[in-house]
Symmetry: C2
Subunit: 165 residues, 2 copies
């Protein structure tokens, strides 16, 4: 079994909280969030390919990436700015799916080492309203995140996810 | 009477909503938010002086400013990044008081013209938690905002606020 992704959406508050452990140290999981060549290899669900248009991952930098199916089809673009990038510890950034213009979320990602060369990633997405959070959740965001993190762990450990995971 | 500031803090949701009308067009009120030389003249409560450390007000830019009393004393620094800057219409930016590190809010400011050369500014501050919103409100944020917007209107109209306003 892969490490599970835990997602909670507290009633009435426009946030999504999540956490996941990785069989890799915090510094490596952090680097997979800040290095565009690594990031494009895991972000999003399986079957999508990611093109990085810009990725200046430092406090005050910005990013944009575009995803589409390996067979072609529609493109989905995402962009934002990095408010805080603190090595191996914290990223605070904005996030917008350009298909839903001006619905911007603030994303906190905290990285902490665990014993045995493992780590925990803890995230909070703060939406501009409860309605926008519900809209995001209804798109299958949770399974897309879970697949992305499985790809990330495969990338770092060289281990494919088990059959049926 | 100056134009009033309306502030609401919906129960259980970590947001502060506000609106204020100005006796000036949207383009002018927008410019007072994006031009650092204008911005430093009105942001914050009366009696504080503002020094701009950086103010690159465009989508993907960042800013930092420092305030202190005209007589000296402690300094208060604020910083953030601009996610969207759409001329005369919308600013979406992050905001952090460096004295409360890592408590980052997402700020929406919408500008719309009204008849008679007037306009309405509508804002939403999205906090990372209800607790952080309550902490901000307890600092007298609302009266500081109201004074700042009075200074802004004075700056644009050349009219001082009435006695006792």
């Amino acid at each position: 079994m892969p490490n599970p992704l835990h997602v909670t959406a507290p009633e009435g508050v426009p946030c999504v909280d999540y956490s996941r452990e990785f069989d890799a140290p915090a510094a490596e999981v952090f680097r997979a969030h800040t290095d565009p060549e690594l990031y494009r290899q895991w972000i999003g669900p399986r079957g999508l390919e990611t093109r990085i248009d810009g990725f200046d991952c430092r406090s005050g930098g910005s990013y944009r990436f575009v995803q589409r199916g390996a067979e072609g089809g529609d493109e989905y673009a995402f962009r934002g700015v990095f408010h805080t990038v603190r090595p191996d510890a914290l990223i605070v950034q904005t996030f917008e799916f350009e298909g839903w213009p001006d619905v911007v979320t603030l994303e906190y990602s905290t990285f902490e080492d665990l014993p045995g060369g493992r780590c925990r990633l803890t995230g909070r997405s703060v939406h501009p309203s409860v309605e926008s959070r519900e809209q995001f959740l209804s798109t299958g965001m949770e399974s897309g995140m879970a697949e992305g993190y499985e790809r990330l762990e495969e990338l770092l450990t060289g281990r494919p996810a088990p059959e049926g995971a």
